[in-house]
């Protein structure tokens, strides 16, 4: 009789260990995905000065568009430096600043239509490819984060793992809703 109880206890402990490790692994995955969002935003901010310099030479009359982009970029970069992943308020502010930046950059995509010289320029074409990929990466890293959060929450909230999660204080993670999601998804596709 004791043997049976011991065996059941052993299986239970094994189950707890496996589930605990699964939760830790999934939490690491979504936390890493969160860092990736920051990495891509930084890449986006870093390439904007170069982009503006290239466009400047061709589109002198578009100073307003370019200044707008630079301003939005500086504001977003400042908020990125201050943002704290645990604080919903600062995340929201950053999201809004990135949204404005996304819209301002849409203006540069539109410029390439108005200035044929610009469109024909090889350096600008390379830059547009860089720009397209960085915009896609910003959107993709957010989607990746939300996908991994969903996966973590699904495991966390499913019985009987939810009991374990409570015992070891695993918290539900929240998916991020991005203000500029629409702007990013509607980023014009540039075909040469």
């Amino acid at each position: 009789m004791e043997w049976v109880l011991l065996a059941i206890l052993g299986v239970l402990i094994l189950y707890v260990i496996l589930e605990y490790n699964k939760l830790v692994r999934l939490r690491n995955v979504f936390q890493n995905a969160f860092k990736q969002i920051d990495v891509t935003l930084k890449q986006r901010h870093d390439m904007i000065p170069q982009l503006v310099n290239t466009v400047k030479g061709y589109a002198k009359h578009e100073q307003a568009t370019l200044t707008g982009v630079i301003d939005a970029r500086n504001q977003a970069e400042k908020l990125r430096g201050q943002s704290d992943s645990g604080d919903a308020g600062s995340m929201l502010a950053l999201g809004q600043a990135e949204g404005l930046l996304g819209k301002a950059m849409g203006g540069i995509f539109a410029l390439s239509e108005a200035y044929p010289d610009l469109k024909a320029d090889g350096a600008f074409r390379d830059l547009m490819e860089q720009l397209t990929t960085i915009e896609n990466k910003v959107a993709a890293s957010r989607r990746g984060y939300n996908n991994t959060v969903l996966e973590y929450n699904n495991v966390l909230e499913t019985f009987p793992t939810n009991i374990l999660a409570n015992m070891f204080t695993f918290k539900r993670a929240s998916e991020l809703d991005f203000d500029d999601r629409e702007a990013i998804q509607n980023a014009p596709e540039v075909e040469f």
Partner: protein, 345 residues
């Protein structure tokens, strides 16, 4: 299906792997026992006071059974080792070029960027990237038994004919195969089929050596025929099983692709372009070695493949799973006549 977690997909692949392995062990045992019985059993001559009896030479039985099982298992393992593991090696053996260091071709740069984008969307590390340079059709494959050894290859045709988001959808489909461990599953099935095909060769040798009319020659020839039949039957069943599993994994990879890119329409668009190409009668698959890897490809290599042996669901069904309004008869396929005529096709 789209809501199903990535983790569960992986778990399903593991379950199917387990099923395959058990089926494999069972069929190896069955075949070994059957052949060993044939080899070791003798009919005693009929005498006045006794009808003929079956006498089994047990030592011979054990030797033959071990030899048969050993040949099948070793061949399978060898095939698994040579096919699995390092995805880059598999990609090269299929004629793909490593483009990691290529920087001058804008199409390749775009492709590299797309792989990085999809890696973020799937929260996976980026695999090694390859191009099948001389393939004018639209296709792609993934190789490698685990995410850190994975490689992805797309055809030159896919780079040329797909737009940015369509190519991303195709790349994401291959990412899903990597994530769901589909290659590992496939490698096991291929190993199994290969092991059974070896029986066919052994059987042929035995049949020829047994034809000389020596003592016991007839029995050896008989065993040869049995081995050939069992090997062929096993390989045939294995191929049907492989195709059935592969078709299921394709649907899952399509669903995951849509989740990684958030863009099912582009995946449907890529599939429609493949259909358009097939209808315009463009020659596909220049490389014969790709035939061996047809289960790994994004789309079926040959249009004629259908039914039980097909490793992919019909194109129309895959598109309709993503875009229910798709109707192939009502001007559904895009015209690919403006597509660049590939060189060297």
């Amino acid at each position: 299906m789209a809501e199903m977690s990535m983790y569960q997909h992986g778990a399903n692949a593991r379950k199917q792997s387990l099923l395959i392995t058990s089926l494999f062990i069972f069929s190896v045992l069955l075949i070994a026992v059957l052949i060993a019985s044939l080899a070791s059993a003798r009919l005693t001559p009929e005498t006045a006071n006794q009808a003929s009896q079956i006498v089994v030479d047990w030592r011979l039985f054990v030797y033959v059974a071990l030899a048969v099982a050993g040949v099948i298992v070793l061949t399978s393992l060898w095939k698994m080792v040579s096919m699995g593991g390092d995805g880059a090696k598999v990609a090269r053996s299929l004629g793909a070029t490593d483009v990691s260091d290529e920087t001058n071709d804008p199409l390749i740069t775009r492709y590299k960027h797309i792989v990085e984008e999809v890696a973020l969307g799937a929260s996976m590390q980026a695999p090694r990237i390859f191009v099948l340079e001389n393939e004018p059709g639209i296709n792609a494959f993934a190789a490698g038994s685990s995410p850190d050894k994975a490689a992805i290859a797309v055809t030159r045709g896919a780079l040329k004919l797909l737009n940015r988001s369509e190519l991303a959808a195709v790349v994401a489909h291959e990412f899903a195969h990597i994530r769901n461990l589909d290659m590992r599953l496939n490698v096991r099935v291929i190993g199994l089929i290969h092991g059974l095909m070896v029986l066919y060769i052994v059987g042929r040798i035995l049949m020829h050596s047994g034809g000389g009319g020596r003592k016991g020659g007839a029995q050896i020839a008989l065993i040869g025929i049995a081995i050939i039949l069992l090997g062929l039957l096993g390989a045939f069943m294995g191929k049907i099983m492989q195709a059935a599993i592969s078709r299921q994994r394709e649907y899952l990879a399509d669903a995951d692709s849509a989740r990684y890119t958030g863009d099912p329409d582009s995946l449907a668009g890529a599939l429609k372009k493949i259909g358009g190409l097939q209808r315009s009668g463009m020659k596909e698959a220049v490389h014969d070695e790709l035939e061996e890897a047809r289960h790994m490809m994004f789309a079926e290599l040959s249009v004629k493949m259908s039914g039980l042996m097909s490793t992919h669901p019909p194109l129309v069904k895959r598109i309709q799973a993503l875009d229910p309004s798709f109707d192939p008869d009502n001007n559904g396929w895009p015209s690919m006549e403006n597509a660049e005529e590939p060189k060297g096709a």
